[in-house]
Amino acid sequence: MSIRKFAFSLFALTALALPAHAKEGGGHGEAAQHWSFKGMTGTYDRAALQRGFEVYRQVCASCHSLNLLSYRNLADLGYSEDQIKAIASEYAVMDGPNDEGEMFERPARPSDRFKAPFANKKAAMYANNGAYPPDMSLLAKARHGGADYIYGIMTGYADAPENMTLMQGQYWNAAMHGNIIAMSPPLSDGMVSYEDGTEGTLHQYAMDIATFLTWAAEPHMEARKRTGLKALIFLLVFSFIMYGVKKRVWQDAH
């Protein structure tokens, strides 16, 4: 085997092994959905983001925090400054101390972080039968499968097989590692009514919340791909030119 062939085979082997590595240890049986943000120039569907935010705010937010986000970040979803102010003001946050040394509550401002449902991890676990609802800021990156995994959890609830006994507060879920999850099915058809008239089905909710959480984990994805495209085009052109330059320089050398 020539060294060239060998190097090429190595490269092919690695390319094949990489996706396998990415999948390793993944959830069980969540099928890949069609996402607007996939692909070379994929972007977040703004309407889906806004609907996903509604789902988060009305359902998930009673248990899951989103600590790394501020209300001002909602501008990415297409909300205006006034809308964001209005959304923030629905939440009361602790501030202070004031001039009299007292802590006080005030309506949240766009610069405040998303208000967490519980004061700390212990309180969250106490309210959830000892199970901890993880912070969702990075959830889409912190699990194999990302958005597909979140979609899978939302739609993966089913009756446990005969031979499996679940304890109080446990549910069978196809996507969860080990198939047992300590979260009751959070979503069902018709639970959240969408302002934009989109039909409120479980599938739709799951798609929207997964899109929203992917944005929450990776808010600069669109800028990233745009910048990458510029760098890539530059390098392609530059490589092409340098190939010509190299050929020119070498033509009389041999």
């Binding site: 990075l138 990233r224 390098l235 041999h254």
Partner: protein
């Protein structure tokens, strides 16, 4: 350095400086006129590529450090602040994160090139030793860098690896306490790792200077492994290799850009995006991909070494694993002495070539074994056994196969000169 005879420069400013410090003379001598074999293939691009990656890591790293907080309770969130709020912070972090992977890709290819074409042999032994030293320093740097975001995977990888040192007899426990700065991986550990992670790249830079200096004394090897006999065998480094290196670098950067901007987390484990919690052990702790082969070697020593059929143990399994893991890198230092065959290039050594390509596959297989859990079974074969066989071959290559071949292998006839070979290839 370059003192003695000096050609004056036309430019008055350049001449003024050069007559006081002949730095321009040095550059001309080492990077323009430097006679370089004219038959390099693209494997010779990776030294320059590695150099660019090192600079890129230092530049992105310094800017990241301006925004990063090395404290156990703040590190994770400060990295997320870089990702979300710092202008272009996401780009710096992804460039640094994936830059490490591509730096290792370049250096692994660079090392393979050296082994394939026998670049480690006389008179380039010291050059090779500096290279291995760079590799070792890179590993230390990358390992400590991985703990800085204070993630589950980073923190636990640090715990597992630092714990290994406790296997060293007598001083082990003390050494671990020194690494940790206490009794567990905690804030003092993070602080000293940050300090060292900032320091080591500059040490690497220093060793790279020695490495390149040594290169410029012996001159480069080439795919034929025979020394140039005169000007007909060489070309000046500039513009010939500056043009070729720039082209090669640009192609390499295309791959780097595709990963950095479209698949920035492909090399990262999901648990790298969860904050470190010393009370929650991840189910499957894996190091970064570039350490996986060595991790597999570590885990393949599952047995104590002692006098058979007695309880006498000289080296327990844990210490044995540590020795094997570090030994796997250290053994590279001695390659020039394991292999004293007069012919350098594997092109003319069919048996060495087969053994080396087998080593490359062996190394990749080890990487695969390192990625899986310790008790994994594939096609009915427990992977520990695969790891053990691969480990055996890895060491056998260096201490048995190469020394044996070095005495017994009959090489194919060498071409008379580089120029002859190049002309023959052109005519064919």
């Amino acid at each position: 350095m370059a003192s003695g005879k000096r050609e004056p420069f036309d430019n008055a400013f350049v001449e003024w400086v050069d007559s006081r410090l002949p730095i321009f003379t040095l550059m001309v001598k080492e990077y323009r006129a430097f006679p370089t074999p004219k038959n390099f293939n693209y494997f010779w691009n990776f030294g320059a590529i590695a150099m660019v990656m090192l600079v890129l890591m230092i530049v992105t790293g310094i800017v990241l450090a301006m925004h990063y907080t090395p404290h156990a309770t703040m590190a994770f969130n400060s990295v997320e602040r870089i990702m979300r709020d710092v202008n272009w912070g996401w780009m710096l972090r992804y460039m640094h994160m994936n830059g490490a992977s591509f730096f290792f890709i370049a250096v692994y290819i660079h090392i393979f090139r050296g082994m394939y074409y026998g670049s480690y042999k006389k008179p380039r032994e010291l050059l090779w030793i500096f290279g291995v030293l760079i590799f070792l320093l890179m590993m230390a740097t990358a390992f400590m860098g991985y703990t800085l975001p204070w993630s589950q995977m980073g923190g636990w990888a640090a715990t597992v690896i630092t714990n290994l040192f406790s296997a060293i007899p007598l001083v082990g426990e003390k050494l671990v306490a020194l690494l940790w700065g206490g009794f567990s991986v905690d804030n003092p550990t993070l602080n000293r790792f940050f300090s060292l992670h900032y320091l080591l790249p500059f040490v690497i830079l220093g060793v790279v200077v020695l490495h390149v200096w040594a290169l410029h004394v012996t001159g480069s090897n080439n795919p034929l492994g025979i020394e140039p006999n005169g000007p007909q065998d060489t070309v000046p480094f500039h513009p010939y290799y500056t043009a070729k290196d720039t082209f090669g670098l640009s192609v390499f950067l295309i791959l780097y850009v595709v990963v950095t901007f479209w698949f920035p987390n492909v090399f990262a484990h999901p648990d790298h995006f969860v904050q470190y919690d010393s009370m929650v052990t991840p189910p499957h702790i894996v190091p970064e991909w570039y350490f996986l082969p060595y991790y597999a070697i570590l885990r393949s020593i599952t047995f104590d070494i002692g006098i058979p059929f007695t309880d006498i143990v000289f080296i327990n399994a844990k210490f044995g694993g540590v020795i094997a893991m570090f030994g796997a890198v250290i053994v590279l230092f001695f390659l020039p002495w394991f292999d004293s065959h007069p012919v350098r290039s594997a092109r003319f050594r069919p048996w060495y070539k087969i053994a080396l390509l087998a080593l490359a596959l062996d190394f990749i297989l080890l990487g695969y074994v390192g990625m899986e859990t310790a008790d994994a079974v594939k096609f009915g074969i427990p992977l520990v056994y695969v790891g053990q066989i691969c480990t055996l071959y890895y060491f056998a290559f260096f201490v048995a196969i190469v020394p044996w071949l070095s005495k017994n292998e009959k090489a194919l006839p060498l071409p008379k000169s580089i120029n002859d070979a190049v002309l023959a290839a052109k005519g064919a």
